[in-house]
Symmetry: C2
Subunit: 234 residues, 2 copies
DNA sequence: CAGTGGTCTAGACCACAAC
DNA sequence: TTGTGGTCTAGACCACTGG
């Protein structure tokens, strides 16, 4: 091994370890030197090496076990991370003008499927909203939202005329547990009408449920305009 | 404030801080005490508080600036993280049997769109593969892959009959820069035929490009069987 | 049982940005 | 200028787990 120039911070240590993996010096499955050995080689404290290794582990490149040591993963864990901003920000970030419109608003007894998903009691009431978010006047996202009115009674008195329920919820519920899923579906009647799709055309849908303190808060289905792509790089 | 029971590790500190945010003690936009103050309150070292705050920051809940201090984000950054395992693992994890089949294999001059995407020179050759991955005999994923043969000449001599190009690439190219995107598209001829879709039906597509040391390696479009959903929780 | 990673501590210096 | 987070260090104890 070449004489190791002294590295400075955990970032450099991380980069050097990554380099050794990419050039094949530490092939998949191989055992890395212990933290102490690496710390001595790089002339840094063990905590510095630890942070570098921990971040590479979290990134899915390494596999660490006490006593067994640190190994390069045979198949690096492929994981993708997406930022999911509020629609308004997503649109305004592109320079387009944002417009919001409430299409339908109704207050009713929660349907069975919603009660099951959010864990609501029988007979519980819910607010149902349909909203359209547009970019430069063109339909961008159709939002079909249900809010648990037992958990959030304030939702009953909101008119949601000026801003979308998403923004209102974010400002109202401090923090929540979330489940998101993506899928491709055939456009239904509402989507066809408001997003200007042919009926049955492919729609990119994002479905999200959120809980707060173990109470189901809201369920939303967001359908995007044609050609929408969710992209990330890492 | 109630007398703070002494907390033990960074996880407990993190949980306590999260609790104070969720119950509204530290509302969105508010300024948290400094690391030193928190360390004293919880009777831990500043490094412990630092790690707790750093992780909450990475999770998108806090906003930290030198000199300005740590604030609760007005709108918590919503970010979703998805595990994207190799198809074989994804299928076998459900208990289903995995089957791989090579449908087409051709070696040709890279088309313009591919050259543009991967940064290949004019006239560069590429290997084009179409593969089907099945679960319990049912079509699960159709893979349409291009490999840059200039960057990976070994791809020319691989037959890809026994295992998918994805697994071969993972074992061959140590590490790469990746761009992933998700979209909903209308099923084309290949998809209709091999995934047993009606032509034009909605298909969930994942597109991925990878680079290694700034050389474009591969481009792949993966189309999933009907009903496929990508789900995550956080 | 012994080696490895996981975490904590106390103290320190520095960089940045608000004032 | 000065306060805050960002990071490093040296040392320590502990928990898990492989041999």
């Amino acid at each position: 091994m070449l004489p190791a120039a002294d590295l400075q911070g955990f970032r450099e240590v991380k980069a050097e370890i990554l380099r050794r993996i990419t050039v094949g010096l530490w092939p998949p499955g191989s055992l890395l030197p212990g933290e102490l050995a690496l710390a001595q080689e790089f002339s840094v404290a063990r905590a510095t090496v630890n942070r570098a290794l921990r971040e590479l582990d979290e990134a899915g490149l390494l596999e660490r076990k006490r006593k067994a040591g640190t190994r390069v993963r045979l198949a690096p864990l492929r994981q993708a991370r997406f930022e999911m901003p509020v629609v308004r920000d997503e649109i305004e970030k592109t320079g387009a003008s944002y417009r919001y419109a409430l299409i339908r608003r109704e207050s009713l007894v929660a349907p069975d499927w919603l009660r099951a998903r959010l864990g609501m009691v029988a007979g519980a009431r819910a607010v149902h909203l349909i909203c359209l978010h547009s970019a430069d006047g063109l339909p961008y996202q159709l939002e079909d939202r249900w809010i648990n009115a037992e958990a959030l009674p304030q939702a009953m008195t909101q008119d949601f005329l000026d801003r979308g329920p998403n923004e209102w919820l974010i400002a109202t519920v401090p923090y929540s547990e979330v489940e998101v899923s993506f899928s491709a579906e055939a456009a239904g009647g509402d989507e066809a009408e408001h997003l200007d799709f042919p009926l049955g055309a492919p729609v990119f849908r994002v479905e999200r449920m959120t809980w707060w303190q173990s109470a189901g808060i809201t369920h939303v289905t967001m359908s995007y305009r044609q050609g929408y792509r969710l992209t990330t790089r890492y």
